[in-house]
């Protein structure tokens, strides 16, 4: 087999973790040091707090009242992360027979159930032959209070 004469550059692995430097943004007076200078911090960034992986997180809005007992109301905005493994007990956005639904996931002993958080709704047991998929795991609910 022929190969290129000059060897191609070999890959170098760069760690994914970013290193942050804290920067003090104002000029320091020559006489008295600012008493706040030692406590400089970046302002809280909600994107950073609420979103673990921006490439895999989506915003979807709630329709219906099947989850009101845990405070998820119609019109609330859910953050849904597709990169998380859906575990027993997670609130998930599921696709059942080609339809979206938000429910609590029950996964025990080979049985999958979708449990509503509203006593007026019945628990759904996923039957054999039904098409079921977890679209993503709900990580936060943004509920407007003002």
């Amino acid at each position: 087999m022929k190969a290129a004469l000059d060897s191609p550059p070999q890959p170098v692995f760069i760690p994914e973790q970013k290193a942050w430097l804290q920067v003090c943004g104002w000029k320091v007076p020559a006489g008295f040091p600012s008493p706040a200078a030692d406590h400089t911090r970046k302002r809280i960034d909600l994107n950073e707090r609420l979103i673990r992986n921006g490439d895999t997180t989506y915003v979807l809005k709630v329709k219906g009242d099947s989850m009101i007992d845990i405070g998820i109301y119609e019109g609330d905005a859910l953050l849904v992360d597709r990169s998380l493994d859906a575990r027993h007990g997670n609130i998930v956005l599921a696709v059942l027979n080609n339809e979206f639904t938000v429910k609590r996931l029950h996964k025990r002993g080979g049985v999958i159930k979708l449990i509503p958080e509203n006593t007026r709704y019945p628990t759904i047991t996923v039957k054999e032959g039904e098409e079921f998929d977890v679209w993503g795991v709900v990580t936060y609910n943004l509920h407007k209070l003002y």
């Binding site: 022929k2 190969a3 290129a4 890959p11 490439d55 989506y58 709630v62 329709k63 597709r82 679209w135």
Partner: protein, 423 residues
């Protein structure tokens, strides 16, 4: 021993635009559907179901109407905001698999997996992860050169047994020859319909024929580009992985109008939108243009109407990326060319002679007109934050006649708060 064989993967999204439309519409999972080009003209993406019903790529939609009604084929207008966002997500996920990669188009990315252990597992993981994390199905083709990686991707797409991943490098020489003998030459990257015909006249019909063709004859008849393609098929890399896209040498923004336009102010209004768009691109790459060209076109398919397709280019007094300044020139050129009594179907601008802003040359005679740098920065920031077209040059957007027809567009699910999907 020479250097190790390159393990170059081409990751290609399946029916990308259709797949994007399905991410937030699980009810469309197995529905025959297509996405249409600007002005809802032609089919630019088909679901497998639509393909099976006989809808062709690039086919004008009006030709499909009957078939569409018979089989309830759904059609969507292009939703570029959605496709761009999902494309960025796919590319970002892929970039984590290997340090060297090249985004080749909105739905294709080369990833250099050379030297990465457990190649087989990694390729399947790449496909699975993009699928789970974005909802977009992809196929992975691996080869020693870009051309063979692309061909391997074609095999991965076509043969269900590959489960979406095909590695050309893993074949024995006999298997390779057998495979290439069964793929028509038109599937090779860079070999279009015209070249396929010409190659056929030389008895070259399969990829294997091209790989084995007589080198001097091939070069004499088809030139160096075809020779490069042949060498790539012979596993000799000739097309480099471009990790950084070179800056654009020319920026063209043009559009067909939804309705025919007959008035000068409407044309100027459309042009100012194109100027704003083109200048924003210039500013994004920190460069400026020295020449502007404006063109107008009547509808060449309407043989019953008088035809007029003028074009005018002028050098700008100094290289600039200022929307306001360039817009004055676009408006003036348009006025120079405009003739009443014609129905215009299309207009556009071309910015050329593009260079980095740092190379500005002063002019002794032309006074240096300040180019509204801070104004343009503020304009870009506002439009990025609140959506394209929030702040415009004043002639832009007063008339609506020229805007694209997009009657079947889906919501901007991921880029506009009011369009967020309901679940």
């Amino acid at each position: 021993m020479g250097s190790p064989v390159q393990q170059l993967a081409l990751v290609d999204c399946n029916n990308f635009y259709v797949s994007c439309e399905r991410v937030f519409r699980p009810d469309l999972a197995r529905v025959p559907m297509v996405v249409l080009s600007n002005n809802d003209g032609c089919v630019v993406s088909r679901s497998n179901e639509a393909r099976a019903l006989g809808i062709k790529m690039g086919q004008p939609w009006f030709e499909c109407k009957e078939l569409a009604e018979q089989h309830s084929i759904l059609a969507f207008s292009s939703n570029y905001a959605l496709y761009a966002d999902l494309s960025n997500r796919v590319m970002s996920i892929l970039s984590n698999f290997a340090p060297r990669h090249e985004v080749y188009s909105i739905d294709e990315c080369f990833v250099d997996l050379t030297g990465i252990p457990k190649l087989r597992e990694v390729s399947y993981a790449m496909r699975a992860r993009v699928g789970q994390w974005t909802g977009i199905p992809v196929c992975v083709g691996i080869g020693p050169t870009k051309t063979l990686a692309k061909l391997a991707n074609h095999v991965a797409k076509k043969h269900p047994r590959s489960r979406g991943v095909f590695n050309y490098n893993a074949l024995t020489p006999a298997q390779k020859a057998n495979l290439l003998q069964h793929i028509p030459v038109e599937e090779v990257w860079g070999v279009g319909r015209k070249l396929t015909k010409k190659l056929a006249r030389h008895g070259i019909e399969t990829v294997h024929d091209l790989q084995q063709a007589h080198v001097p004859t091939l070069r004499a008849e088809f030139g160096v580009v075809m020779e490069k393609i042949q060498r790539e098929l012979q596993e000799i890399p000739c097309i480099e992985l471009r990790e950084i896209q070179p800056d654009r040498q020319q920026i063209i923004v043009s559009r067909s109008f939804g309705n025919m336009v007959t008035e000068l102010p409407v044309l100027q209004d459309a042009l100012s939108a194109f100027v704003a768009n083109a200048c924003a691109k210039l500013r994004a790459q920190s460069s400026h243009a020295a020449v502007i060209q404006v063109f107008l076109q009547t509808n060449r398919f309407r043989k019953d109407l008088p035809q007029y397709m003028p074009s005018l280019a002028v050098p700008l007094p100094y290289p600039t990326n200022d929307s306001l300044g360039v817009n004055r020139w676009a408006a003036a050129l348009c006025e120079r060319m405009f003739r009443p009594d014609y129905q215009y179907k299309k207009a556009g601008i071309v910015l050329c002679e593009i260079s980095p802003v740092t190379q500005r040359q002063g002019d002794l005679l032309e006074p240096q007109i300040p180019c509204n740098e801070r104004l343009m920065k503020a304009l870009d920031a506002l439009n990025q934050r609140y959506g394209r077209g929030t702040v415009k040059v004043s002639t832009q957007g007063a008339y609506r006649d020229w805007q694209m027809r997009q009657e079947r567009k889906s919501p901007n699910y991921t880029t506009a708060w009011d369009d967020v999907p309901l679940v």
